[in-house]
Symmetry: C2
């Protein structure tokens, strides 16, 4: 084993802000890469990349993400609170640059779809725009929010109202193959990676071997 | 664009449970792969794989994860509430099978480190065990919990008290290179993947091109 370096809480607190942001943002492991699409009451579309979309439950089907309401990207939060709907769209390897561009602090009257060269797609159930280029698109209704008092962020929970995807990506047992989809993952604040398969394993039980499936 | 299939909320609710679990667990995108280590008051170690560890903030440095307190893996939750500390350890490509084995429902007196063939490593600050084989190990103190009333899960927030890692993995600007570390990512409930680099991009600003860094 290579020698370990230890960084204490006191040392973390003393780090320059950008260094600390890069360091701490890398520690949770690989992150999801999603574009969240919203529409305001005037019909102005908004799109922003998020790396905090997380599974919260399958029944009911819930996804969550973390946002900073009084900093960037507040347009997403304001719009989804006003219109009660938002979309989550996977980022794929052929448009990581466009996705990253959406993280810039654009004025509210800017349509990030146009600026980033992505295409709006609308469903029948709600006004929030999907990203046409995404092979996995999820429509959600605002379900709840939890104010994280430790740092002023907000955990937003959405309930899935529809899934739009290519049928071939969904396997016999419901598994959606994100490798086949070309979905990417994020390391830290700004690195995009393309995952390659290692294995899929059977359900683990005590005193029983695991098989590859 | 290939033709899209739409799955509605009503159809999701009617799916067989395992199919729905596979489907909905795939939708958030790629997930982090971490082993959470705890110790109970009797000195019994526990280890379990989690795919919900998420960055909640850098100042103070906070990670969160989602757990089901009255189902598996409750040992993790009970221990960290009792002892106030836990560890987050990256899963790497050379021990995905061992990590997956830790998800089996072992009795409380079973040490998953031994069963899974992983090695305990202890720091000086707290009693929770680290995984020696992990190149990124994070020690955390229980900070807060939020009861998610929509489905009975609990969001646990921990504050980082120390980071143990190989110095070479931390780059000049604080970025930790998880590709170099061999950290893996999870698709759905049971698929493990190894990410390959696409690019790291400069901070995005309106009306300014993004560079690779």
């Amino acid at each position: 084993m290579a020698s370990l370096t230890t960084i204490t809480a006191e040392e973390i607190a003393d780090l320059p802000r950008l260094y600390r942001n890069n360091l701490i943002n890398s520690l949770s492991g690989f992150k999801s890469a999603n574009l969240i699409g919203t529409m305001d009451s005037e019909g102005q579309a908004n799109l922003a990349v998020f790396s905090s979309v997380t599974h919260f439950g399958s029944d009911p089907p819930l996804l969550g993400f973390v946002t900073r309401p009084h900093v960037v990207p507040r347009h997403t939060y304001e719009n989804l609170k006003a219109m009660r709907h938002f979309t989550v769209n996977h980022v794929h390897k052929d448009f990581t640059l466009a996705a990253h561009q959406s993280s810039a602090k654009y004025d509210k009257d800017v349509d990030e779809f146009e600026i980033c060269g992505l295409t709006k797609h609308f469903g029948d159930l709600h006004p929030a725009p999907y990203v046409a280029e995404a092979k996995v698109k999820i429509g959600l209704k605002f379900e709840a929010e939890y104010a994280i008092k430790e740092n002023g962020t907000i955990l937003v929970l959405g309930r899935i109202v529809e899934i739009l995807t290519e049928k071939a990506l969904i396997k016999e047992d419901g598994f959606v193959d994100l490798y086949e989809a070309g979905t990417v993952t994020i390391n830290g604040l700004d690195a995009y990676l393309s995952p390659k398969r290692i294995a899929r394993y059977s359900y683990a039980r005590p005193n029983q071997g695991i098989k590859e499936i």
